[in-house]
């Protein structure tokens, strides 16, 4: 294959990775930004989204698009509810202590993973894409559904950005992020904001998972890679920065696609991790993060 089409394919693959990664990492970034909680169980909420998508789409008969759309709405809601319960039962009781919450979310990771293994099983199960249109390029074919993931992710990111910057809820969230004690003094129910943000973060991961599951199956161990990549993205982009998260996700996704296609996937991972180290050394707050006060 010639260089041009080869690069195009690499870029397309990279963009699909970026799109899913941006949504997942945004959830992680929000939770850390607002609550200062490092949510190690984030990848498991991603996995739950995919597993629920499978359950919902197989429960609904008829055109695959029906099941998929239902999954896209219902799965994130269920995951959000589970996250809310976890937040109320565990994180709040630890007073959001940074060290304690890391350990607690590691525990949640294992609990969710093993519950999925017990009730869903060890198999990878496929979900039918809502439509299967194959775009025929002169050099290769490409899945139309994959392109739609990029569009859907972009829309969701814009929507999240609008919520954060243009709505009252967003204002409350930003105020809590800026200074939770002052926010509380001004009558903001910080406690409820925390619950909501934790649920929202998990829902973003679940949405990303529902989008990706038609091309990569639901499996109970699928949460590990997104977790690692999300951390990489969030560290490079700057914790709590939406813009940084998106830019870093595109950067990591594209470089992963291109480097692993022209060289090797291992090299792509090495470079991503090296980038994290560089960012931590030279710009610890991340590319777009603000220095801690």
């Amino acid at each position: 294959m010639h260089f041009g089409p080869h690069l195009l394919l690499a870029a397309l693959e990279g963009l699909v990775t970026s799109a899913v990664l941006a949504l997942t990492a945004l959830g992680l970034s929000l939770v850390f930004g607002v609550m200062r909680v490092v949510n190690v169980a984030h990848g498991e909420f991603f996995m739950l989204g995919a597993v629920l998508a499978w359950a919902i789409s197989t429960a609904i008969s008829g055109h695959p698009a029906l099941g998929f759309l239902a999954a896209l709405v219902i799965a994130p809601l269920i995951v959000g509810a589970i996250a809310l319960v976890a937040e109320r039962l565990v994180l709040r009781r630890l007073n959001y202590n940074p060290e304690a919450t890391i350990v607690a979310t590691i525990g949640m990771l294992y609990i969710i993973q093993q519950l999925a293994l017990s009730f869903y099983g060890p198999e990878a199960r496929p979900v039918e894409p809502p439509f299967s249109y194959r775009i025929l390029l002169p050099w290769f074919g490409y899945s139309g559904y994959k392109l739609s993931i990029i569009a859907a992710s972009a829309l969701l990111l814009i929507a999240t950005w609008l919520v954060l910057t243009r709505t009252r809820i967003g204002l409350i969230m930003r105020a809590t992020q800026y200074d939770s004690e002052t926010a509380q003094a001004f009558g903001i129910p910080v406690d409820r904001v925390y619950g909501g943000v934790f649920a929202l973060g998990a829902m973003l991961a679940a949405i990303a998972a529902v989008l990706i599951v038609p091309i990569s199956q639901a499996h109970y161990l699928m949460g590990q890679d997104p977790l690692l990549l999300s951390f990489i993205v969030v560290i490079i982009g700057g914790l709590g920065s939406l813009r940084g998260t998106v830019v870093a996700a595109v950067l990591i996704g594209l470089s992963d696609g291109i480097i692993s296609m022209f060289f090797s996937p291992t090299l792509a991972k090495i470079i991503a991790t090296l980038l994290v180290a560089m960012v931590l050394v030279f710009r610890p707050q991340g590319l777009f993060g603000t220095a801690s006060r």
Binding site: M1, L9, A124, E128, F140, Y142, S143, S216, Q224, P265
Partner: protein, 434 residues
């Protein structure tokens, strides 16, 4: 004798309810503790304890579940027929997490805590390779159902056996003539980037070369990869056959993306069933497999010419004509491999009977008796087919099936002969000390 504190003065000790409960609990704990000897009349009637190292969790979990089902069925059949040397078999299962480190721990646990007679089970090559030293150190016979070439390579140790399933080198060698004659001469290989994949990487090129065909590209894919389109440009355009061996949950994606990439211009596909074990071949996205060929250890779908033994085996394990669990068509088995558990247990039975096996002190005798075996006839104990056994390399040799995907089923189109898969031994375990 001084008894200043009055420990032995019964009048001073009062048995409170709390101490009584503690004592009871401790006693109960002892009774259920692993290795507690409940059979006072020596070993004559105590069961033979088989430690089953199972992939209950981790990437091998689907295999683990079916290995357990097959093992349970075989043990039930053996016990119903009187057990081994008149003793019943008791299986103790430990999860190895499909992880080499855990695998070695589990073998150690069987040896020191459960005090099992042998260890049996496990599939994934890295777990077997990681666990083998622990089996050797504990002088614990370790019967694996792994299909990798590592046992036959004689790089492990004298306590490791693979008598129930053939190894990759032999499988490749016996199928290469068919691939070269029927699928194509220019082959691109896609394989997982770890031990099992390396067996394919190393043994396919010479096997094909001997048949006048060649491997023109080899693409290694990390076992955790979840997206494959990015590797496809590495497939040379002149490729006639894509030879794919994938393991792990991402295989559906692999096939689907291959279909999207090539459309109707797809080269011939030849795959190892390992790719699709426990996966319904009629899953969405797998339409592209129609007309392609697979290696199968034991056919997943019931075939027209199935032997009575094969039928009885399928009924005992509980799989229907489509290779799925009876009553749950979505629960697809790992038919290509799990028969190895059934057959291995019968080999263990035969070897223990030959050795007059009484207990762990006879483990060396069991090793020698296993090495002395030479052939297993096709029948209820060996439903997959006849096998020969080479005691020097601890490996069995048998027939392979090549199946074609037709109308959503796999139909066996070619069966190899035992001789097709024989090769020169690379070493001799029997020269190692016991």
């Amino acid at each position: 004798m001084a008894d200043k504190n009055g420990f032995f003065d019964l009048s001073k000790t009062t048995l409170t309810r709390r101490t009584a409960l503690k004592g009871l609990a401790a006693g109960a704990g002892l009774a259920v503790a692993p290795g507690f000897v409940r059979y006072s009349q020596a070993q004559s009637s105590a069961p033979i304890k088989i430690g089953f190292q199972s992939h209950r969790t981790g990437i091998g979990a689907a295999y683990g579940r079916w290995y357990e089902k097959t093992t349970a069925a075989a043990v039930k059949a053996i016990n119903a027929a009187g057990g081994i040397n008149g003793r019943q078999i008791e299986v103790i299962i430990e999860d190895d997490g499909t992880d080499p480190g855990r695998g070695a721990e589990v073998v150690g646990k069987f040896a020191t805590q459960h005090k099992t007679d042998i260890v049996f089970g496990t599939l994934f090559s890295h777990v077997v390779i990681g666990s083998a030293p622990a089996a050797g150190e504990n002088k614990m016979p370790y019967f694996v159902v792994s299909e990798g070439h590592h046992v036959a390579s004689t790089k492990l140790n004298r306590y490791v056996f693979q008598p129930g399933i053939t190894d990759v080198k032999s499988q490749i060698q016996s199928m290469a003539p068919w691939i070269a004659a029927n699928a194509g001469k220019k082959v691109t290989q896609i394989f997982p980037d770890f031990a099992f994949g390396y067996d394919h990487r190393d043994y396919l090129p010479p096997a094909l070369k001997a048949q006048g065909a060649e491997v023109i590209a080899q693409i290694a894919i990390p076992p955790t990869e979840s997206s494959f389109t990015k590797y496809f440009p590495q497939i040379p355009p002149e490729t006639e056959v894509i030879y794919h061996v994938m393991v792990g949950p991402a295989v559906l994606t692999f096939v689907k993306e291959l279909g999207e990439f090539y459309g109707s211009n797809l080269p011939q596909l030849f795959g190892f069933m390992d790719s699709l074990e426990a996966t319904d071949i009629n899953s969405p996205g797998l339409e592209f497999l129609d007309g392609s060929h697979f290696w199968e250890g034991s056919p997943r779908y019931a075939q027209a010419d199935d032997s009575a033994a094969q039928k009885a085996y399928r009924a005992a394990v509980g799989i229907d004509d489509n290779g799925a669990a009876v009553g749950d068509p979505k629960d697809v088995s790992t038919a290509s491999h799990m028969f190895g558990c059934w057959e291995t247990l019968y080999v263990v039975k035969k070897a223990m009977e030959d050795a007059g096996y009484k207990g762990p002190e006879d483990r060396a005798k069991l090793v020698e008796a296993t090495e002395a075996l030479t052939a297993f006839a096709e029948g209820p104990e060996h439903p997959q087919g006849p096998k020969t056994f080479n005691g020097k390399i601890h490996q069995c040799f048998g027939i392979q099936n090549i199946s074609k995907v037709e109308g959503g089923k796999l139909k066996v189109v070619h069966k190899t002969k035992i001789e097709d898969g024989l090769y020169e031994p690379e070493g001799d375990y029997t020269t190692q000390a016991l």
